[in-house]
Amino acid sequence: MSVLLKVRNLSRHYGTRVGCEDVSFDLHPGELLCIVGESGSGKSTLLNTVAAQLAPTSGSVSYRQRDGQWLSVNALSEADRRRLAREEWGFVTQNPRDGLRLNVSAGANVAERLMALGMRNYSQLRGIARSWLERVEIDPERIDDAPTGFSGGMQQRLQIARTLVTQPRLVFMDEPTAGLDVSVQARILDLLRRLVNELGLAAVMVTHDLAVARLLAARTIVMQRGRVVETGLTDQILDDPQHPYTQLLVSSVLTT
């Protein structure tokens, strides 16, 4: 199968401090890859650097776009990077308030990314927004409500709808369930699992929760102090961890 994203020897330093160091991986179409590790292990730095929200200190990120052309993401102009983020990528932030526009309605939040792609027909936009609210299990009657009145779980589901409405080929997610109650988490994870399958998305997801990786990702990368310490099939890493740090992570999980 053809590769969608190639990350090679990617490093991002903050002055003399290491954010992430010498990370390489490939991502295939339709594949969800999890990056796990503790707080401060460099997961989010890696995600943001791959998603071109942070400039790398060294290394490269290449992306094969819809027309089959390989793009060197680091070499793109700001305008091209924005086009990529608008047309082919999506980003789901941990705190939905960072990814939503709180002062406009739920419907407008979903429609906005479509309008950025040039769709102008009001009733069509509204129809798509309604169907996406339903898809993420938000009552479509709340289409005109501002998300400030939504619960955290609803806001996160709205952000997911806003991100996926443009049918991106690649989605980056930074701890999308971390700030939520366990029951709400399960609902979002199930939703993500279903949508990723239905839409054939490729995704890179950061999580500190190994159970999330087990549920969603076929492959996982384990990070410690900015470096990859183990990578492979998720079930292999969780059931037969090789690296001392991975063994510690796995053995620290509470099982019920």
């Binding site: 609902r187 199930d190 699992r193 076929a218 492959r219 099939l233 292999q236 059931d239 001392p244």
Partner: protein, 233 residues
């Protein structure tokens, strides 16, 4: 005429190194050779702790072998799973190598019917066909129809196990690994599983399994493969 060789283990060893238990090392498998042909059902026998489940997990690439090779016939060519890339392993699991454990890993909120249909969908079947086949499997394994639309988290142990078997057998795969899939089933349902396995073998599948129940073993096994705990040996 001899049946095609489907799986060949060569000099397979597995030990676990526990970095946080003072570097303790558990040797579970050493120098193991095994050949499995199409149409046969080899049952691993031996006491608890002999490494039977570990062996199945190493073959499924759920555990990484410490030494040796796991050759699998995939798409008519041989692939060593000990050296395969994660994407190759996933492809082998999707189409060639099935694994049914004792326990269903429940996915929150997903109904039993969809859990069973999923592997067939992933193998490329239409949603309609996948759900139809899933209904047939659940029906055959006597899972009451009123449960099909419910997530199996609250089902009894035996019901969960039958959902798990249905999910594990819905895609006809050339090699099947079974880790006590009938442990909590009654005689009627064990007989159904024995029947499903006989059909799978007749269709050319090679089966490698663990069955503690002697009746079940006698019904399905074409050959036993005795195993012994290393430390005791």
């Amino acid at each position: 005429m001899t049946a095609a060789l489907m799986l060949e283990l060569r000099d397979l060893s597995k030990s676990f190194e526990l970095h946080h238990q003072h570097g303790a090392r558990l040797n579970v498998l050493r120098g193991l050779d095994l050949r499995l042909h199409a149409g046969e059902c080899v049952v691993l026998s031996g006491a608890s702790g002999a490494g039977k489940s570990t062996l199945l997990r190493v073959i499924y690439a759920n555990y990484r072998p410490s030494l040796g090779a796991v050759h699998v016939r995939h798409d008519g060519r041989w692939l060593d799973l000990a050296k395969a890339t994660p994407h190759e392993v996933l492809d082998v699991r999707r189409r060639t190598l099935g694994y049914v454990s004792q326990f269903l890993r429940v996915i929150p909120r997903v109904p039993a019917l969809d859990i069973v249909a999923e592997p067939l969908l992933q193998a490329g079947a239409s949603p309609q066909l996948a759900r139809q086949r899933a209904s047939e499997m659940l029906h055959r394994l006597n899972v009451p129809e009123r449960l099909w639309s419910l997530p199996p988290g609250t089902f009894s142990g035996g019901e969960q196990q039958r959902v798990n078997i249905a999910r594990g057998l819905i895609v006809p795969r050339p090699i099947l690994l079974l880790d006590e899939p009938t442990a909590s089933l009654d005689a009627t349902n064990r007989a159904v599983v024995a029947e499903l396995l006989t059909e799978a073998r007749a269709a050319g599948s090679a089966v490698l399994g663990i069955f503690h129940d002697e009746d079940m073993r006698d019904q399905v096994a074409t050959r036993l493969f005795p195993m012994q705990a290393l430390e005791a040996a």
